[in-house]
């Protein structure tokens, strides 16, 4: 039988501010929106709410109601860390915890009786855990579903509420509709029908609700009946993949910094190996003697867990982007990913190891530019020299050979070429073109509409024209005639005449 607990903290934004500054619990306090023009109240603690302070009020109105009001600006980090602390508190009681939103945590309580005792003991354990991390005003409810537990927690007056199995509907019948958190227009409609409590809503005929309100009505009815519509989404605590090294001396050379980074990376990689993880990105944060920071993010081409290639990549990046002052502290964060184990095929020829390949690619990118290193992929276009440079990542297994065929045939689209089972014939050789990039303009004389001289050199053989055009539907229209010509000096080249401008150019030389 499923049992769920709901851990709820009322006015969570104010509770998060109190958690970071506990002295505020003794006085009325409100959290204000950071807007500079009209400062409005985001949330208020219990003491301020007793004086009538509510969310959405202007600061002036709130101070008029509560002259002793203390205000604090909204700090998102406080809320984020408070949510994390609440989830971790629940995680200490049950391994299955769901983040239900701001100030709301669901706990799968099935089987916890073996560890903590009866449901009341489980609830008290949760309550004490939340109290220990800074939420003394939290409430806990246990029921047969998450929805019922949430409604019970929102409607409760005691710190711990337990609804016996099968009595959820009766226990929640008296709760006001507001605890369901309905959309405003739907709440107005139900109020117009005279529905005030959860029990009255649950008693309405389901078919009639569906007919009048559609899917929203059915969802609302499920809430009133205490039924869960969504599956339980377990929360996993994010791992802490940081390693740091403080320095008693200042480092102002990359060589010395590399030694420090190597030690930090060694520790980080040891942890990654122990968790069977790899890192696909690193972030280096350097504290500088000038008081500033220098942060660099290095994306790894492949996930890795070896410190040596990581260190090489970090050193290359820091060499290209050195810190502006001496370094006093170094921190490295890794983004962990799980890499499935695998091995190459038995008949697969050896390929570069990933760590070697990544380091070489990084060095080549520094040398010739990242855009000039990669693997070409033919574009699906008839435009001459249409290709895209992709990051080099050779496939693990033998795949299809792209566009293999005889000379003179058009390039085939990717994936339709010959395969390993159908290798190209060993004696099938293709006359290959050496491209001239960008195409070089030439002066061409013609006779009978065929090229007769190219830059003064006599044409001894000529074939064509091969007419091609494309892109006429947009601004990059092109149209050309291609000629294969043999010149008197032995050069065999491809000429192209732009049909729009009439200009001739050399596309490339057959070689």
């Amino acid at each position: 039988m499923s049992r769920f607990a709901c851990l709820w903290v009322e006015c969570f934004v104010a509770a998060a501010a109190e958690r970071s500054e506990p002295a505020l619990r003794a006085e009325p306090m409100t959290v204000l929106a950071p807007a500079p023009s009209v400062t409005r109240v985001i949330d208020a603690n219990a003491a301020a709410r007793e004086d009538g302070v509510r969310g959405g009020m202007t600061e002036t109105e709130a101070r008029a109601r509560c002259p002793a009001l203390v205000s604090r600006p909204f700090v998102e980090e406080h809320v984020r860390s408070a949510r994390h602390a609440l989830l971790e508190a629940a995680f200490g009681v049950s391994p299955r915890v769901e983040d239900g939103g701001v100030g709301l945590v669901y706990v799968d309580a099935a089987g916890l009786a073996w560890l903590h005792g009866d449901p009341v003991a489980i609830g008290r354990r949760l309550w004490s855990q939340a109290r220990a991390v800074g939420f003394p005003g939290c409430r806990v409810a246990l029921a047969g579903s998450r929805t019922a537990a949430r409604v019970a927690a929102l409607n409760a007056t005691e710190p711990v509420t337990v609804i016996p199995p099968g009595e959820e509907r009766a226990a929640l019948a008296a709760a006001p509709l507001a605890v369901l958190g309905l959309a405003p227009d739907l709440a107005v409609t139900l109020e117009g029908w005279g529905v005030r409590t959860v029990g009255e809503l649950a008693a309405l005929p389901r078919d009639g609700l569906a007919m009048r309100l559609g899917p929203a009505g059915l969802r609302t009815h499920d809430l009133a009946l205490g039924l869960d519509r969504d599956p339980f989404a377990a929360w996993t605590p994010p791992a802490f993949w940081d390693e740091a090294q403080g320095l008693e001396w200042e480092i102002d050379s990359l060589g010395a910094l590399t030694v420090v980074l190597a030690a930090v990376l060694e520790r980080l990689c040891t942890r990654l190996v122990a968790a069977s993880l790899a890192a696909d990105a690193l972030e280096v944060r350097l504290e500088l003697a000038s008081g500033g920071h220098h942060a660099r993010a290095v994306a790894l081409a492949v996930p890795m867990r070896e410190p040596k290639p990581m260190l090489a990549l970090l050193a290359l990046d820091l060499e290209a982007h050195p810190p502006s002052a001496a370094v006093t502290r170094a921190t490295i964060s890794a983004r962990p990913v799980r890499v499935p184990a695998g091995q190459g095929g038995l008949w697969q020829p050896p390929a570069p190891r990933l760590r070697d390949l990544v380091a070489v690619l990084a060095r080549l990118a520094v040398l010739v530019g990242p855009d000039n290193v990669g693997s070409p992929r033919l574009d699906d276009s008839h435009r001459p020299d249409a290709y895209t440079m992709l990051p080099f990542s050779p496939p693990d297994e033998l795949g299809r050979v792209e566009g293999a065929g005889d000379a003179g045939s058009a390039p085939r689209p990717r994936g339709r070429g010959t395969t390993r089972q159908d290798p190209p014939r060993s004696d099938a050789r293709t006359l290959v073109l050496r491209r001239v990039r960008p195409p070089r303009r030439v002066a061409v004389a013609t006779a009978d509409e065929r090229p007769s001289r190219v830059d003064g050199r006599r044409v001894v053989g000529c074939a064509g024209p091969w007419r091609a055009s494309g892109g006429w539907w947009d601004e990059e229209a092109w149209a050309r005639d291609e000629w294969d010509v043999a010149l008197v000096d032995g050069t065999l080249c491809r000429l192209a005449r732009d049909l729009r401008t009439g200009q001739w150019c050399v596309d490339g030389v057959y070689d």
Partner: protein, 185 residues
């Protein structure tokens, strides 16, 4: 390498010749042979003259080819080749130096030679003339013999192919296979 068994692993081979002599077609045949059996090849292209469409038609698996474009800077091409020959796992590393190959210092030539011996990669240099001197184990020169034109009428409309002959200029020891004496592409 089946079709290009004359290109030895761990050694430097040079293909030299005039423009349109067929040296790039011969080089592309080597790329095709390496990539079609699942190995990884690299091409350092000094002049950015590599045509992916032609290579794909010739049967080169472009996904297994690392193309390094040097935009006319031959010093960068040599440094890139020096990096690649030190990375184990590349079966073939092509260095296309184009029509104006630089003169390689003897120290660099032997540095490349010792590097490929260690990684057992085949370094294949394509250019107008020889650049490695005594560092190359095999030097092949290509020369075009004839051109085939085709077409239905008296005026040809299609370049059907070209005949190329090869000549061994230097062979430090007898290769396991011989470069094709001639072929038609």
């Amino acid at each position: 390498m089946e079709d290009v068994a004359w290109v030895r692993s761990g050694e430097i081979t040079e293909i030299v010749g005039r423009p349109s002599s067929g040296r790039t077609s011969l080089f592309t045949t080597c790329l095709r042979d390496v990539t079609s059996r699942g190995a990884v090849a690299a091409l350092v292209d000094a002049d950015q003259a590599f045509d992916p469409a032609s290579a794909a038609r010739a049967g080169v698996d472009l996904g297994r080819l690392l193309w390094v474009r040097c935009e006319g800077r031959r010093d960068l091409a040599l440094r890139a080749a020096d990096l690649l020959v030190r990375c184990p796992g590349f079966t073939l590393i092509g260095l296309d130096l184009g029509e104006a190959p630089p003169r390689l210092p003897l120290t660099l030539a032997f540095r490349l030679k010792f590097a490929v011996e260690r990684t057992e990669a085949a370094l294949l240099i394509v250019g107008r003339r020889r650049v490695t001197g005594g560092g190359a184990s095999l030097v092949v020169e290509t020369e075009r013999d004839a051109i085939d034109w085709a077409g239905p009428g008296p005026s040809p409309t299609r370049l059907a192919g070209a005949h190329t002959a090869t000549r061994v200029l230097r062979a430090r020891r007898a290769p396991p296979g011989s470069p094709p004496a001639w072929w038609r592409a």
